[in-house]
Symmetry: C2
Subunit: 575 residues, 2 copies
């Protein structure tokens, strides 16, 4: 394509507030346009990349037997009530008439789907009535809407974004897991084809409400990624921070036991203020968090002051029951103190206490006194409270912490979640009574899996990962054009003639080429634009090279250009 | 693809309330699933058809230089305020948080775009600053959301549907209209490729707010279409009913003039009741409608009682000014009577009166007396009111009416609007101050055109047009599979063997084939399913044919099957 005809141009500036590397580069290079926070238009260059990414995904989904469909974005609220997610999903959008005239025509309120279990399960109910109809897998590449609070990560997190979602349906859990493993392999292949196979790791993550098993995330190393992955150095197993087991990096030391002390701490309600007031490090304070579970029982969770609670871990330990923070009234009732003064000493025996293993061996620590405006200091197990039968791992671990498996410090890296796969099991089939008749005529619930992958997010990750200080650098499989052909300015008419010849020649060979045929732009700007747009190959036709009867070829990810004869050029690019 | 693996099955029943022919057939055949009124899922068969339709459109858009992009569905309200359409577009949806948790995260309200002028124009402003950047055309194939009151026409009118929208940008009106004509040709080619070229007509239609010129609709003959097209038999020019000029089919006859009579008509406010009360035909009554235009002037429009007003025509006649019905208070003020009793006699001279040409030569007619509970009867021009200088054509014409061009009765047919093209001129560029610098450095507004086409609607039209009493019948260019291969049941193992062989052979030749390999289904059901699904070619392998060493081939749109040798089969299908 001729650059003079290309809809977009490179820009000098990005919109105010656009802080992510991927969107800054993609906007400057003319791949995307920002409509508003978390919502983008894909311009011709960006659309070409997106289509290539989606076609790679499509091919690999077809290869494992996925059948492509297209589900709507609008759905009735009823479907979401059925799964009890209408009030629960905190990114859910609704849609209804925007003005009086519209509401007068139709006053209904719909849901804008943030995911499609609520749509596909009732469809499956119509088509899979017998064991003979199973297994089956369908997928779509479609737009998702999520009411994200403050999307600032460009294409890595949007309010409107493209998603490939595959849903599989099986007779039993064994079949589900067989297909689940097949999908893992297909995903790996997709990432390989995009040249991020070596940097993409399967990380264990929360299974959500769906399963007691972990789900699996595909995490691609990415400096600006929103996730932190912990990798065990011996086994290579990766965990999302939200589920990573771990031991503290800073061990509790030996010291003499001091005598318990009650300290007036008026208005001091946080670990930060408490440790500052007492002049002790955070590791010497214990935080006590109070929760109420869905059955009405109270739970106390205690951690060393330098750690935060990991509620996902607590959820698993207490047996996959839902819970929430106790409210002010409840805290006052069970501790006789205002919040900020909760502690472990003197708590009612009705309350289940879970102590994190960061407390193991901790001596002379400070903790709330269960009395407003008071804390204890120099608390010790055995002396002031009894040591629990068992310590738990309920902390959010930190870089530097130790893997319980290998006993070694985790390798930690930032990553972006480029895919995730969930064993949904029977969660949604039960909601919609989606049963099948087995070989003996018995009704059984269908087992489901859900497999997500975000093409637009992947585009953002690829933009960031391969970029350098000069701009984007696309891998061949997704590049908008394989070749960027530059006709440099000059008086020698041969330059234009030869550039036009090479342009035709490349097109004849079906090589996708962006041809910078602009007549009023200098060489420096042409080079800078080519680096910013980032096609894998750059061909330069210039007066200097014409004199030597040569053409200059350079790969975007190499530093050195090469001078070639015309006959050598095309074979080098076809490679 | 093997039918045993196909996600969908043919169904015996369609959902209650699904009344349109296209959706009944497409649901029964397993092409689509209904999520709710006006919202459908495209199942594997339907998705295959849709992709083929969209690719034909895509190829022809690329051929005229359209560059593909993808714009978002969500947009800020601000863009719609800018064009004054936020309160005006009566199908506009908004989107915001569906529950408390979601609204707490982000309380903003967005618009779900029903069309994309509000998005593309601000983008163009960034990229087209100079005459050198023009002309340029971009398009997308994307999902539109419209809050339709009662969608009952299946894929012909949805609340969520796919749309190709192309936008072109030009230096001046001349360039715009050149490209406009180019697009007409591209559209014609698309319809030809789908075998509806001969049944698709360009009809003149309202240009909306955008232009004093007509817009052009591509209307495909379709019995259940929502539009009525009037075709002039001599010129072949087609009009959408909303703009069709016309003369009355029933002429006003000769008769003696009677004497004016004032009749008490208490509570009689409609033409229907009035003519019943007076015992006269509707053609003997005149209806007077009162409007107020956007400058505050009152307008009276009068038509013969058997005609309705066509406000689009009135809009053009009064000079493209907006207007609305006068309200009750205004009517009482200007006629001294309640609504239902307005007439032409004694109306203030300030009021502009437009009389439809159906009144020309009308004698002894009834009309409101501008006095509550009274009408006049036996009104006559010259005698009771003066004949106007000019009669106008402000009526909605009816089948049987006469084209003023040819003087012949129009050919009238029902049609579905499969495409439309609008000369937007500078309407949107002015709203967003989208100007370019011309060759002399002067700022000028960019001229725009918009060109829509609905792939999902086209799918519905194709489904209806080619269907017969047995089911769907797809034209080759969009068929989900070219061939439906049926393996009939029987004891002879050769049947299965040969069917499998043909299946492999067709796949080797890259012929798309749906292979009915079901073992537990009878011949009758297989034939019925093949007819319902509607692939262009049907191949049958049966015990009977095996004995004769033949294979049966039948085209879906022909009645007669043919017995062929294996060697003859493939060439017949490749054709």
């Amino acid at each position: 394509m001729r650059q003079t005809s290309l809809f977009s141009k490179t820009l000098k500036e990005v919109p105010v507030g656009e802080v992510s590397l991927n969107s800054q580069l993609l906007i400057r290079a003319g791949f995307i346009d920002k409509t508003m926070a978390g919502v983008y238009t894909y311009l011709p260059l960006g659309w070409r990349v997106l289509v290539k990414i989606e076609n790679i995904i499509r091919e690999e989904m077809n290869a494992i037997g996925g059948q492509e469909i297209l589900m709507p974005a609008l759905s009735p609220q009823w479907n979401w009530e059925k799964t009890k997610r209408l009030e629960k999903v905190d990114v859910l959008f609704k849609a209804d008439g925007a003005n009086q005239a519209s509401r007068k025509q139709n006053n209904s309120v719909y849901i804008l789907n943030s995911t499609h279990e609520e749509i596909i399960t009732p469809i499956m109910k119509k088509y899979a009535s017998s064991y003979k109809d199973l297994p089956v897998a369908v997928y779509q590449i479609q737009v998702k809407y999520r009411n994200e609070p403050r999307p600032k990560a460009g294409l890595l997190r949007g309010r409107e974004f493209r998603m490939k979602d595959l849903y599989s349906f099986h007779k039993n859990q064994e079949d589900l897991y067989k297909f689940y493993e097949l999908t893992k392999k297909a995903y790996a292949k997709i990432f390989e084809r995009m040249d991020i196979g070596n940097d993409t790791f399967i990380a264990l993550a929360s299974g959500g409400d769906f399963t007691k098993n972990y789900s699996h995330e595909f995490q691609t190393k990415c400096e600006n990624g929103e996730d932190t992955v912990f990798k065990d150095l011996d086994s290579g197993i990766c965990y999302n921070q939200e589920v990573a087991p771990g031991r503290v990096s800073l061990e509790n030391g030996e010291e003499d036991l001091q005598v318990l002390e009650k300290v007036a701490t008026t208005g001091i309600k946080t670990i930060a203020k408490l440790t500052e007031f007492l002049g002790i490090p955070k590791e010497k304070a214990v935080k006590t968090l109070l929760y109420k579970d869905e059955e009405g029982n109270f739970i106390a969770a205690a951690l060393r002051g330098d750690y935060d609670i990991n509620e996902e871990k607590l959820f698993r330990i207490i047996g996959f029951k839902g819970f929430r923070f106790a409210d002010e009234g409840e805290i006052e009732k069970i501790t006789s103190a205002k919040s900020g003064y909760s502690g472990l000493i003197g708590l009612s025996e009705d309350i289940d206490i879970y102590m994190d293993d960061s407390l193991q061996g901790l001596k002379n620590f400070a903790i709330g006194a269960n009395e407003t405006n008071y804390h204890y200091n120099n608390v010790n197990f055995g002396q002031d409270i009894s040591e629990p039968e068992k310590f738990y791992d309920i902390k959010e671990i930190k870089p530097g912490d130790i893997s319980p498996d290998s006993g070694k410090v985790y390798e930690v890296f930032k990553a972006s979640e480029t895919g995730n796969i969930f064993p949904l099991n029977t969660k949604f089939s039960e909601s919609f009574s989606c049963y099948y008749d087995d070989e003996n005529g018995n009704k059984k619930p269908i087992y489901m899996g859900a497999y997500g992958m975000g093409p637009t997010r992947i585009m953002g990750v690829l933009a960031e990962k391969f970029a350098d200080e000069k701009g984007l650098s696309w891998t061949e499989s997704v590049a908008p054009f394989k070749v960027h052909l530059l006709q440099l300015p000059g008086k020698n008419k041969q330059v234009k003639k030869q550039a036009e010849y090479i342009y035709r020649k490349l097109k004849d060979k079906n090589i996708q080429v962006l041809y910078d045929d602009r007549q009023d732009v200098g060489a420096g700007e042409k080079f800078a634009d080519a680096d910013l747009i980032g096609c894998p190959y750059r061909i330069v036709v210039s007066e200097k090279m014409i004199k030597e009867n040569k053409i200059e070829l350079k790969k975007r990810n190499e530093n050195q250009e090469r001078a070639l004869n015309l006959e050598e050029l095309i074979p080098e690019i076809i490679n």
